[in-house]
Amino acid sequence: MNRRFSMMGAALLIIAIIYSACAAPAAAPAAAPAVTEAATSVATAPEAAPAAEVAAPVAQTGSILDTVKERGKLVCGVNNQVPGFGVVDQDGNYAGFDIDFCKAVAAAVLGDATAVEYKYANSNDRFTLVKTGEIDVLFRNSTWTTTRDSAEVGMEWMPVNFYDGQGMMVRKDSGITTIEDMDGATICVQSGTTTELNLADYFRTRGLAFEPVVFEDNDKTFTAYDEGRCDGYTTDKSGLVSTQTKMTVPADHMILAETMSKEPLAGAVAQGDPAWADAVRWVVFGLIQAEESGVTAANVQEMLASEDPTIKRLLGVEGELGSKLGLPNDFMVKVLEQVGNYGEIWNRSLGPDTPFNLPRDLNDQWTNGGLLYSPPFR
């Protein structure tokens, strides 16, 4: 009896060891390319460290910029349920407007737009994940607000990359034409979002009543609306357009004309790390400036020979702007080659060739009457 127990215990122990060993190597192969080019003493550490580093959120004393360079990979918090902004296909490949910004940052810091690990951040977790260091940067259609900028939520916000507003989707046959008709309606909304708060505010100031039905993720929210649980579904208008394509019969639904609030969507990093915040900020500005100056993925090599001083400084031909930010001086060349400028990112995910075909409107260059305005590269 004793012998049987101890043999069973030994077998369980062996199984546990094998299992935990099998669970780790997902991180190890990614460290291999870094090992081959790094110095020997540094090489031994990253091999063992990445498995622990990706899993253990520790408050960083150095800048995240250094951590990312050392790790050789950017951990980017994204959405995987909003087509056009952040979505994953059946092969596990991420694509979308926000995803391209992750790629741009990776190209700038590491020289390789594919050196990204995408982590799904749901609406309740996203800021905690950034604060604890589990993700380096968040590009997840999140709105910049005072509370989220303050020490309470503790985010540092990047330049707005999408000026949006909150809208309401209803069924065409419901007879609703404006939000005023929705007095007492049931509305599906996602929890932990500015959408939830704006909905309450908007209805309250107009003296309208509503019944909320709240879920944690976008999929369940719009599925409940689609099945008839709610009369209306509210989120940012860009989210409404992209989610409409996922409905069982997209043509049955319509988006009301009213915009219920301002929703400036921007990337975010943790507060208290100015080097990292500046680096990411100027990558975003670089994308906007590149579109203003007419530098695209196709013509970036020719533009290296340009006489325009702004382009020369942007691409690192002249000046030390990249190095001052802690990035390689030609970081914008890598970014533009691998990802393209803001306009190309827009067209790839939201442009005329996609099902969304969103109008640029506020998201156009200041020279065309929009709000995109990069501070000068000098």
Binding site: A200, G207, V214, G272
Partner: protein
């Protein structure tokens, strides 16, 4: 060799097992305290690094801030109220689903457990299938099935299935005609409580009296009779003394909606923290000339809305409500108003939890019944008792001793599993806690609060079940 043969002589301390035991305990205690201290200081240093703006201390002031979000069901809650109040609403929702779930799961589990050991082949096979299938599927999957699978098949609000005068069934929920206690009924509630206490005391005294006399019987009938007597007396007393508060006031918006409340500070504006809303009061809307336009009754949270009333309402009058108000649901606008409403989220969560926990309880009950010696069954048959009587009088009371401890675990599991409500949108305390974390950024504080809440639920349940266990357990020599 100076060891004495005196029976009280003790070996030297390093060989004295008692002293060694105490020393080991002290050493272990120091170890545990040191580990706890290390973990605590580790957490505070890391927190200080993350929250260096607020000095790295845990601040609890966020609890008083305005919530800003709506909660879809539970006690009346408005977005202007605080995070703490929102959390209390979540707590009430968790209690609601947990208590109902525990009671229903016990009923289902006991019946299924008995079915499992029954001689009826079909019954026992059905019970077997139910238990095996439900135990093998994760609870989250079952919850999502109940919610999305079931509400998809229910009729839309416009074509809701109706039990005339009793209930409506639609994919927005089940709405049942239900009596509610009103303002004048509130004192009656205390009479009922008093009646229950009086009934229990009378029943206990009667039973003691009978036992002293050596007579059979119990005090149940007398106790129930006392309760009803007190209830009826209380009803009439409360009804005749019923009055609405003197400081009653109302807010009227857009000519057809607003709130009726007792204005504590006399400013005419409804402030949820200090003013008390008045539910189920019959009200009449008057126009500028004092002519009545429409009549309604205020809702459970004191709010009222006149649907399809002609425009031009400027003032309100009210009458004292009867102690109990029978609220009937009717379709107004987009939804049903009135009656007791059970939302699909609540129903799906309750069904999922009951079905899941019931399967586990069934196995525990079966184990308990099987633990009773076969001789008991044979003896009761010999005495002439049928299966049902045997179960009720002989077997189940003995089986209880084996059933209670694992049953406690299942009850605690049910309460904790109710936190999966977040997956289907039922606003329980964990869900509200998550929203508060997201809106205010106070992760550690809210996690501590949520953990403390579940811990207290579990400790209270365990305490009660252990007390009950001590009463029924086998006392051996």
């Amino acid at each position: 060799m100076a060891t004495s043969t005196h029976p009280n002589a003790r070996p030297p301390f390093y060989r004295d097992t008692q002293v060694i035991a105490i020393l080991m305990q002290a050493f272990f205690l120091i170890l545990v305290v040191a580990a706890g201290w290390f973990l605590y200081t580790n957490m505070t240093t890391n927190l200080a690094a993350i929250n260096n703006a607020s000095g790295g201390r845990l601040s609890w002031s966020f609890l008083g801030q305005t919530a800003g979000f709506e909660i879809s069901e539970g006690p009346a809650f408005r977005p202007e109220q605080s995070y703490w109040r929102a959390y209390m609403v979540g707590l009430a929702n968790t209690l609601r689903v947990s208590v109902a779930g525990v009671i229903l799961a016990t009923l289902l589990g006991v019946s299924t457990g008995i079915a499992r050991v029954s001689n009826n082949w079909l019954l026992s096979k059905i019970a077997l299938t139910y238990v095996e299938v439900i135990r093998s599927t994760p609870l989250l999957v079952q919850l999502l099935f109940w919610y999305f699978g079931v509400i998809a098949t229910l009729p839309a609000v416009k074509e809701a299935a109706e039990w005339p005068g009793l209930a409506f069934l639609s994919n927005r929920g089940i709405f049942i005609t239900w009596p509610f206690l009103t303002e004048s009924g509130a004192p009656w509630f205390w009479w009922l409580v008093g009646g229950a206490v009086a009934g229990a005391v009378v029943a206990w005294l009667r039973r003691r009296h009978l036992v002293h006399q050596g007579l059979p019987g119990g005090g149940l009938i007398l106790g129930v009779a006392t309760f009803f007597l007190v209830a009826i007396v209380g009803f009439f007393v409360a009804f005749s003394a019923a009055r609405l508060p003197d400081t009653i006031a109302y807010e009227l918006k857009r000519g057809d909606r607003g709130t009726l409340f007792a204005d504590a500070d006399g400013d005419g504006k409804y402030k949820p923290e200090i003013d008390r809303a008045l539910p189920y009061v019959p009200i009449t809307l008057l126009d500028a000339g004092g002519q009545p336009l429409a009549t309604e009754t205020t809702d459970g949270d004191g709010a009222f809305r006149f649907f399809e009333a002609p425009a031009g309402g400027t003032s309100l009058t009210w009458t004292t409500p009867p102690p109990v108000f029978l609220s009937e649901p009717e379709r107004q606008g987009f939804n049903f108003r009135g009656g007791l409403s059970l939302t699909p989220e609540f129903v799906a969560l309750l069904l999922g939890l009951v079905v899941y926990t019931g399967a586990f309880i069934a196995e525990i009950v079966r184990a308990g019944i099987n633990a009773v010696p076969k001789g008991q069954w044979e003896a009761s048959r010999a005495v002439g008792l049928g299966t049902a009587d045997t179960l009720r009088i002989i077997v189940l009371p003995q089986a209880l001793r084996v059933i209670i401890p694992p049953l406690t675990s299942q009850y605690l599991n049910l309460v904790k599993n109710s936190s999966l409500a977040i997956a289907i949108g039922y606003p329980d305390l964990f869900y509200v806690g998550r929203v508060i974390v997201n809106q205010s950024g106070a992760e550690v504080q809210m996690i501590l609060v949520v953990m403390a809440t579940y811990l207290s639920f579990s400790l209270i349940t365990s305490l009660f079940m252990n007390w009950y266990n001590r009463r029924v357990m086998i006392i051996e020599r």
